[in-house]
Structure formats: C-alpha cells, structure tokens
C-alpha cells in the first residue's frame, strides 16, 4: 500500500515527461487528426471538409508510389537487418582474441551520423564512383582473376584426392593444402601474364547510373527502384550493429547446458543455430523486428539527404511525402500531409498488431 504522499511524489517526478508527451505527442497528434479532415493550408483558418483529404491522398500517384516504396523498403530491410544482425551476434559471441576490437569496429556504422553515411554512399555510387570503378577493375582483371581461381581449385582438388588416395583424412578446405594451392595458382597466373598468354583487358569504364529512374520489375509492375536499393543496402549497413547488440544480449541468456546437450546429440553448428539459438531468441527477435519495421516505415533522413540527386518517384517514402506536402513555398496542402501521416500511423499500428497476433509464440510471452 502506498501512502498518498508517495503518489504525489511519483507524479512530480513523472511530470516533466508527462508534460512533454502531452504537448509534443498527444496535442500534436490531435491537431494533425483534426487538420486531416479540413482544408488547412497553413495560412487560412481551417474548415472541416470531411474525408476529401483522404480521398485526395489515396488518388495521388505520388502517395501510391510512396506507400509501395515504404512497404517494399520496410519488408526487405527488416528481413535483411534481422538476419545479418543475428549472424553477426552469433559470430561475435565466441571467445576469441581481440574480440573487443571486433565488437567496437562492427558497431562503428551505427554511431556514425546517418547523414554522413548517406553522403558517403552517394559518393560511392556516383556515375564515376567507387562502385563503378571496382566493377571496371573486375572486368579489366577478369582473365587474371579467373585463371588464379581456376588453377587454385584444380590444384586443391588434385592435392586432396592424392592425400585421400594415401588414406589420409583431409577435408576439401584444408588450410595447409590451400596455402600450397594458392602459391601455385599465383605462380601460374604470373607466368602466364609474363609470357603474354593472358593479361589485363582494355575495357571502357563501367558506366551505370545508380540514382536514375531505373526499376526492378515483376510482371511489368515496378517493385523496387535502384536508388531505393542503394538506400536499403545503406540502411542495413547502419542498423545491423544496433540490432546485433540486442541479439548479443539475448545470447547471453541462453543456458550453455542446451548447447552441451546438443553437442552430445551430435548436432552440427547449423543445427545448433536453427534448433537452439533461433527459438531461444524469439522474444528478442520479436523486439528487433518490431523496432525494425517501425524504423523503416518512418525512414526519412536518408531520402532527404539524397534529395534531388535521384528522381523523386524512385525514392519517395511515406514520411518524405508528408514532409514535402508540408514544407513548400507558401501555401501547402497540409491537410493531405496530415491525412498521409495518419494513414502511416495506422499502417504501423496494424503491422505491429498483426505481428503480435501471429508471430510471437505463447511460450515467449510467458
């Protein structure tokens, strides 16, 4: 039983937070909801006009594109970042020398400002950027690289077969034999290059415009634009480390006894991952997926930084649509922006609800 005084003190301590939430969330949300049923344009007193803003928004091709882009982006990015975060966490959970270094190094993308990362990616994927440069180099050095790989594979196979013929137990990827194969492959490649049999090819610079109106289509329907694909790669790159931390924390809570039992049963590493780690991490996965979905549905900054470098249709997301409809020169369709924001909120709510309903197994809730 709390005394009256305790309750008052508690509210006093909660007050700063409650006031901030009341003003900047509930009041703002209420106003947005109200504006979404009016003809508000920032400058004239709003008048109620019913559902028209919602009809306008739903009929707007830009909104339809933004909705499709957001959904594709959210689904692809959340899947990628969850899978990679889990794999990274499992890899980092081993006791290795210099683990502290790897843990910090892998966390770097997440503490770097996303604006900075976006600028770096813009630069990497320029028409004369690093991505195109690497592809050009690959094309130019293709004969040498392929020769090296071919000789390496052949040498490795011959060695392993020979060792096995001598009844020695060696695996296909035996490191000692691989070193000899690599040395041999290097020598052969060098010799062929020196004698002029193979050499670096003259190729025109690979010229691909990443931030252009290019789409991956499925049955004639534009599914994913190339600029958005770049943003997906970039977003995955920056969010994986944060999500990895959650998985890493979750991994600490899995009893070692389970792995020992699995070892005794003769489970392979893959089986241990799929049968022990993944099920035990289910509550963490739920959290990671939820955070991922909300974050990706609201993605804005990376698109805003790329801005006019790519055609708007290829990159527009729901949050960016709301922004561009609010901040224009002079009068702006703020009612449509509010309607779109409400729709976005409803979609996120529905997603989280569905996920809660079908995704989380009963044992994880207990």
């Amino acid at each position: 039983m709390f005394k009256r005084g305790f309750t008052v003190t508690a509210y006093l301590f909660l007050a700063p937070f409650l006031i901030a939430v009341a003003i900047f969330f509930f009041y703002a949300f209420g106003r947005a909801l109200y504006y979404s049923f009016t003809n508000f344009d920032l400058f004239h007193p709003p008048q109620l006009i019913g559902l028209k803003p919602y009809r306008d928004v739903l009929a707007d091709p830009f909104f339809q594109r933004a909705l499709a882009n957001s959904l594709v982006f959210a689904l692809v990015t959340t899947t990628l970042q969850t899978v990679f975060a889990l794999l990274m966490a499992v890899a980092l959970n081993h006791r290795l020398r210099g683990m502290a270094f790897f843990r910090s190094a892998w966390y770097m993308p997440s503490i770097t400002s996303s604006v900075v990362i976006t600028l770096i990616f813009l630069w990497l994927f320029q028409r004369r950027g690093v991505a195109n440069y690497l592809i050009t180099q690959w094309q130019a050095y293709q004969p040498l690289i392929l020769t090296f790989l071919g000789v390496f594979a052949a040498a490795q196979m011959v060695q392993v077969l020979w060792e096995r013929a001598r009844r020695l137990p060696v695996g296909w990827f035996d490191p000692a034999l691989a070193a000899i194969s690599a040395l041999l492959a290097l020598l052969v490649t060098w010799a062929l290059n020196f004698t002029g049999v193979i050499g670096v090819r003259e190729v025109p610079p690979f010229d691909y415009q990443y931030f252009a109106d290019k789409w991956i289509t499925l049955g004639g329907v534009k599914v994913l634009s190339i600029p958005l694909l770049v943003v997906i790669i970039q977003n995955t790159f920056t969010t994986v480390p944060t999500l990895m931390l959650f998985f890493l924390a979750g991994l600490q809570n899995i009893p070692r006894a389970l792995y020992e039992a699995a070892d005794i049963d003769g489970a392979t590493p893959l089986q241990k991952l799929l049968r022990v780690t993944v099920p035990m991490l289910r509550p963490v996965t739920f959290y990671v997926v939820t955070v991922g979905l909300i974050g990706t549905m609201q993605m804005f900054d990376q698109v805003a930084v790329i801005g006019s470098a790519a055609p708007r249709e290829t990159l527009i997301t729901l949050a960016y649509y709301v922004y561009t409809n609010t901040f224009q020169a002079g009068a702006a369709p703020v009612n449509m922006a509010c309607a779109a924001a409400i729709i976005l909120a409803l979609i996120i709510l529905a997603m989280v609800f569905l996920q809660r309903r079908f995704f989380v197994a009963p044992e994880a809730n207990s």
Partner: protein, 411 residues
Amino acid sequence: MKNLALLSLAVLASGLLSSAGAQTTIRINGYGGTDPAVVGDLINRFVKPAVAKDNITVVYQPLQGDYNQQLTTLLASGTAGDVFYVPAETLDGYVKTGKLLPLNGLVSTTPYIKTLNAAFTRNGRQYAIPKDFNTLTLVYNKDLFDEAGVPYPTNNETWTSLQQKLTTLKQKLGPDYYGLCLQPNWDRFGAFAFATGWPQFGPNGKTNLADPRFVEAFNWYTGLAKNKVGVTPSELSQDWTGGCLKTGKVAVATEGSWIVNFLRDNAPNLKFGSALLPKNPKTGQRGNFLYTVGWGVNANTKNRAAALKVLNALTSPQAQQYVLEQGLAIPSRSALTNSPYFKKNDPGAQVSRLVFEGADDGYVRAFTFGPQGQDWTKPINEALAAVLSGQRTAADALKKAQQDMATFQNR
C-alpha cells in the same frame, strides 16, 4: 563603485534616447550565403542614409538553408520580416497565402524592365519589385574555336547556323571535344522551347507538350546529342554546363552572368566570349528565361509606410548602379542600358551586357513552374534525360511526358 555609476548613467541615457525618438525597425529577410555581406553593404551605403531622417533603422536577417521553406514557416507563424525576397519561380505559392502586399499604386513600377514586372504580376496585381535578374547567354571557349578554325558564335546565330559551327568544330577537334553542353532539364532547355513561340501554359492553364513547336525545340535540342556534338554534364562528371566549360573540352555553355565569377575562380586561364542565344529559324526570334528575385512587402506589417520607404531606397538608381558596377548582379532598371559599365571591354562586362539585352529580346519568359510548383518540370526533365542518354526515342519520350503532364495537371 565607479562601474556602477557608469552603468546607471548608461541605463539612464538609453532610456532617454528611446523615449526621445520613436525608432521604427524594418526587418528584411533574404538569402544567406554571400547575400548578407552584399545587401548589408547596400543597406549601409544607400538605405540607412536615405531613411534615417524618418527615424527608420534597417536590419537584414538572412535565412540560411532552404529559403522558401523558412520563409513559409515565418509567414505562417507571423514572424516574417517587413520586407523580404520573393523568388519569381515560387511567387504563386506566396500569392495564395495572402501575405504578400499588392504594390500597385504604392510603388512606382514604371522604371523597371517590363518583362521583369510581368514576372511578379498575377491578375493585374504586382506583388514584388524586381531586385535584379539574370538571363541566359551563349558562353564559349575562344581557344577551342580558334583551334578548330571555326568563327566564334555571333549575336545573329540561328539554331541551324550554330549547329553547323558546332558540328564542324566537333569534326575538327575529334572525339574528346564537344560542341555544346546539354543540361537535361527545363531550366536550360525551356529557353529554346520559348524561341518557337510555344506557350508554357495554354489558355486553359494546361501545358501542351504535343504542340509541334515544343516538339521542334525538343528534337533540335536532343538531336545535338547525336554524333556527340552535344554532351550532358554528367558524362563529364559535372553537374551543370558551367562545369562542362571549365573542363576545357566543351566549346559552348548556356549560362547567365553567374558564370563569370565561377570561371574566374575555377578556370582563370580560359579565354571566354559570349553571344546572345541563337534564334529559331522559323520565328526568327530567340527565347530566354528571366531568373529574377523581387522585393515583397509583408501584408501584415505594422509599419507599412516605413517598409515602402525602405523598398524604394533598396531599388534606387544609385543603389542599382552600385550593384551593377560591383559585378554582383544585373539590376532591374531599364535606364541602366546607358550605363558606361556595359561598354567596358572585359569579358565579364560583356556577359552582363548580353544578359541585360537578353531580357528584352524575343520570347522572354519568367523562370516559373506555375501554380503547382516545381514538380511541373518533372515530365519534361525525364523526357530530356531519357532521350539524351539514349534510353528512349524522342517521339516515345514525348508521348510519355504528355501523359504524365496531363495526370499531374489534373491533380
């Protein structure tokens, strides 16, 4: 002790001063960047002395970042300055807010170039006084023309004759050199579309991209990319035609007087000349864009009379002559045509003179997107990019552009 006495004296003095004369402060909002220095200088030299007798002081408050966005926020919250820049291309959005004071009858608009006044007029009401402007000229690399033995472009060039000169130049100089830098967007191409007499908006307010005049301009512009006589900036890793010129590989760019300072800083050894844009062979006219910014007055200002006085001082003949001679921009008074500055022989002054002349020669239209904003340019820009990069044929791209434009304008 001594400090305290001084302080109390100072407080007393300031109190006396403020009660003695009711000072009116006029706040001006404008661009950031180099503008605070330039306009601040202008205010100190010409505006403050002119309005001091009326007890008016003037403060320049630059809006850093996206000017339109910030001005919109300030206007909506009622905290915008008394006088502010109004970019012609976004005028329509501001007119709709009702926060721009119509200036008819309040300020004399007759001394300013007519096309500039028109750029700030909607339904007979003029909402801003032109501050300064720019138009496009042909800026060319003299060395490349000399090397190829082709005569420089002149002020009487037509599309056909210019194309011939550029094609010959390309043939003489080989694959690494190009005739004209072709920006794949409306803000350069539009000037050529206007030369055919094509109207940006028809009588019903709709844009017709299937108009044979538009098609003619589109085909000529994109046709230059064949045989690589024309080249897009991105093919040379540049993002505008001035950048093309800087590389020394492209003979001609279409730019305004802003290119002079850029070339001086980035390509100091490049010898450049300038000429008026070529004429369309059928109409015998050239087209051009007016890029202009005006001075607008806040409709809600409490000091309307003072704001108008400041506006007049900002655009006085002395102030404009000063702006011109500093090489900062081309001011908006038509009387400046006789300015000795234009007769100077340096290439920068030459560009300025042609930019000034271009404002009143042929089909000159304000650089504007109409009431629906910048997205209006999107169908045209996409069509230009698709054809110049060889992804579509001109006919195909124009068909799609017209469909997209119709959808956009029916929103």
